[in-house]
């Protein structure tokens, strides 16, 4: 290991806002989001590519931000849970998770909502099976998933016209 770790300059857009930063090459994307940008809605659950609490959208695709180096997001468009709302208005996915009681402790919820965002951007009317497959990478230890399913169905319904 070198004594001094050289930092690398990157540019990325997070929730529509452009950022230029210098980061250590070993920094994970989730660390950049939480610590450098102070967007703490993205959670670290397992840190082993299992639980999906750190899920964000990178160029529209759901990814586990604990399993990507920050430098790999150079030039990327990132969306975190903070980017879902629009001028104080909850996104239909956020509203549906609340209305359908699709959460209890809420730790997994940001990741689940971004997995939902990718699903509904590709499939406006997903079947129950398609929903289950889309959220298979997000672990929830409270709800038993039934209300999460209902929330995603509700979100799909309310976004149909969009």
């Amino acid at each position: 290991m070198p004594d001094v770790i050289e930092k690398i300059a990157i540019k990325l857009t997070v929730n529509g806002k452009a950022h230029s930063l210098t980061v250590e090459p070993r920094m994970l994307l989730v660390e950049l989001i939480r610590e450098a940008l102070d967007l703490t809605g993205t959670h670290v659950g397992c840190d082993t590519t299992y639980c999906g609490a750190c899920t964000v959208l990178m160029n529209g695709a759901a990814v586990k931000s604990c399993t990507i180096f920050a430098v790999q997001a150079d030039g990327a468009q990132i969306m975190t849970v903070e980017g879902l709302e629009n001028h104080g208005q909850l996104h239909p996915i956020q509203k549906a998770f609340g209305d359908a009681y699709g959460l209890q402790c809420g730790y997994c919820t940001p990741g689940l909502m971004l997995s939902t965002a990718q699903l509904l951007s590709q499939n406006k009317q997903p079947s129950e099976k398609e929903i289950r497959k889309a959220i298979a990478g997000n672990t929830c230890r409270c709800t038993g998933y039934q209300n999460i399913l209902k929330a995603i169905q509700m979100a799909a319904q309310s976004m149909k016209g969009a």
Binding site: P25, T48, T55, V63, T67, F69, D74, S115
Partner: protein, 278 residues
């Protein structure tokens, strides 16, 4: 760069295995060379009765591709690896170069004619997949070589395949898996390829079981004999995913179901199959 940094450097493709391994300190490379910014390495092309996958083609791209849907066993594999997030990042080239004993691609591609193109800065060679995978986490790649492309020959008409893997939940590696590709001529099996995953240091080609089916009418009895022959070549280890006995039983049951799906697909039926989990 690989020449410059030597053997301690590692290539970073999708990172969905390597980054977790680094966090656990199982991998401790002095340098990482990120391949993701090289353009033109992510593609699926149909050419000369083969599918050519750029090394950086993500599992999700393969899952969504109509070209790979024509070889259902490839779709079974791509659509079932881990979860959406991992499939959005993980790559076919990375999976083969990692050579994890529980990886999915090597097992599946072992049942097809698969060539791995290995590239150095100025030369390029093609290695048959069976010769490419040497041991657990060990391949024929030299330290200054990388995979540029994976070339899979399209199976002949009348051929059907299936891949079934059993896992406890989506994001984990399977407990056991079975891949089978059968080329049928009416009721007679002209050719059979069978490979087992997660029950040895590498994917295991079940040659005895293939011999049981090849040239024969496929009946409940021949299938049962092939399944027994398969269980005999599995070399599972007991671990947190299950005991060796359990995995030996499981891999046989997966093969039996995979043969059923492969036969029906060979007859032209459209059947969904993939990883099985709760």
């Amino acid at each position: 760069m690989l020449m410059e940094f030597g053997e301690d450097a590692k290539l970073l493709a999708g990172g969905q295995s390597l980054i977790p391994l680094m966090k656990l300190r199982y991998a401790n490379p002095s340098h990482l060379v990120d391949l993701n910014f090289i353009s033109g390495t992510s593609y699926i092309r149909e050419e000369n009765e083969a599918l050519r996958f750029g090394a950086l083609t993500r599992h999700a791209q393969i899952e969504a591709s109509t070209a790979s849907a024509n070889i259902p066993i490839i779709h079974d594999c791509a659509a079932g690896i881990a979860d959406v997030q991992v499939r959005n990042r993980g790559t076919i080239g990375g999976s083969l170069a990692e050579a994890d004993p529980s990886g999915d691609w090597a097992t599946v591609l072992m049942t097809l004619q698969t060539e791995v193109r290995c590239q150095r800065s100025k030369s390029d060679r093609r290695v048959q997949l069976a010769d490419f995978i040497k041991d657990a986490y060990t391949t024929a790649l030299a330290h200054d070589e990388l995979i540029s492309e994976v070339v899979v020959k399209t199976p002949p008409k009348g051929s059907g395949g299936a891949y079934l893997a059993f896992k406890r939940s989506a994001p984990v590696y399977p407990t056991a898996s079975a891949a089978v590709q059968l080329t049928m001529d009416g009721e007679i099996c002209k050719d059979a390829a069978i490979a087992l995953g997660c029950v040895g240091l590498t994917a295991i080609k079940a040659k005895d079981a293939e011999g049981v089916l090849r040239g024969q009418r496929v009946t409940a009895k021949t299938i049962a004999t092939a399944v027994e022959a398969t269980r005999a070549v599995a070399e599972p280890q007991s671990d947190m995913r299950g005991s060796a006995d359990y995995k030996r039983t499981l891999v046989g049951s997966l093969l039996k179901r995979a043969i059923d799906v492969a036969l029906r697909r060979a007859r032209g039926e459209q059947i969904e199959a993939s990883h099985i989990y709760a």
